[in-house]
């Protein structure tokens, strides 16, 4: 069985700083117990502040609503500083979750990191 909710592992967060951007890679599930760590990591980046945060969800096979809330909160705060959050497309389950919650309307989603970094800096318009 591939990594899935039935064999959860633990969340790993890796942050890579590049000039005025950061790439945050989430590997594993974002369960309720992990949301505080995610929130602190992302909030610290928002406070820098940065122009762009790329959240690599390609290895994130599960996220709860609290985890989504941490991302939404960061998105709002970063926007106040004229920055933006972009997502690298997650596995199908989380992609579907973003559709069910309609949060796919808030975030630009990219197939890979190169595309996410290369896109123009204008935040997603409503």
């Amino acid at each position: 069985m591939s990594a899935s909710a039935a064999s959860p592992g633990r969340l790993e967060i890796k942050t890579d700083l590049r000039d005025d951007a950061a790439v945050v890679t989430l590997r594993g599930p974002v369960s309720v117990a992990d949301c505080g760590v995610l929130r602190r990591e992302v909030d610290a980046l928002v406070d820098r502040p940065l122009r762009l945060i790329v959240l690599d969800l390609s290895q994130c096979h599960f996220i709860c609503s609290l985890g989504l809330g941490a991302i939404v909160s960061a998105h709002i705060r970063l926007r106040h500083n004229r920055g933006t959050i972009r997502l690298i497309k997650p596995p199908p389950g989380v992609t579907e979750l973003l559709t069910v919650t309609r949060l796919n309307r808030l975030f630009d989603m990219f197939e890979n990191l190169a595309d996410a970094l290369a896109a123009s800096v204008a935040p997603k318009s409503d």
């Binding site: 909710a5 039935a6 599960f62 069910v100 309609r102």
Partner: protein, 143 residues
């Protein structure tokens, strides 16, 4: 409540204090047998999500993280369906009063998606009159 405990199958009951760090063990105790029974990855995902949301709500909103209050979980997993009931010791609430988080004006709110997700991923969801207990049913092997 229209959703009732299954009359057949092995019903298991667990009680935990209001501690978010304990949820994972409870959830895995339900997901492991479901996976062993051949539940699909989609079903496991939905079950996992509904459990996370219901239990987190019970601890945070129902019991206000009061360490003296407990969360009561009742579950029965069979090859055909998964039944879960989560009850907190709080005062309850009106689930109908929760705003729709998918509405445009609510998309940027950091919270309020839990109940919507439970309803989206489970086949049947029911609350008791006071709102401090939720019962959920996921049917697998649907026609």
């Amino acid at each position: 409540m229209s959703l009732t405990e299954p009359k057949s199958g092995s019903l298991e009951r667990v009680t935990i204090p209001s501690d978010l760090s304990l949820l994972s063990e409870v959830i895995q105790g339900i997901l492991r047998p479901a996976a062993a029974m051949g539940y699909s990855e989609d079903a496991i995902f939905g079950l996992n999500l509904a459990l996370e949301e219901a239990l987190a709500n019970a601890v945070k909103h129902g019991n206000k993280k009061d360490p003296t209050k407990r969360v009561h979980i009742c579950h029965c997993v069979s090859p055909q369906q998964a039944y879960i009931a989560v009850r907190d010791e709080g005062e309850g609430f009106d689930p109908r009063a929760v705003p729709d988080p998918t509405q445009e004006e609510n998309l940027e709110k950091p919270c309020g998606r839990g109940i919507m997700l439970i309803r989206a991923y489970m086949d049947e969801v029911d609350f008791n009159e006071s709102g401090n207990e939720v019962r959920m049913l996921l049917k697998v092997n649907k026609p």
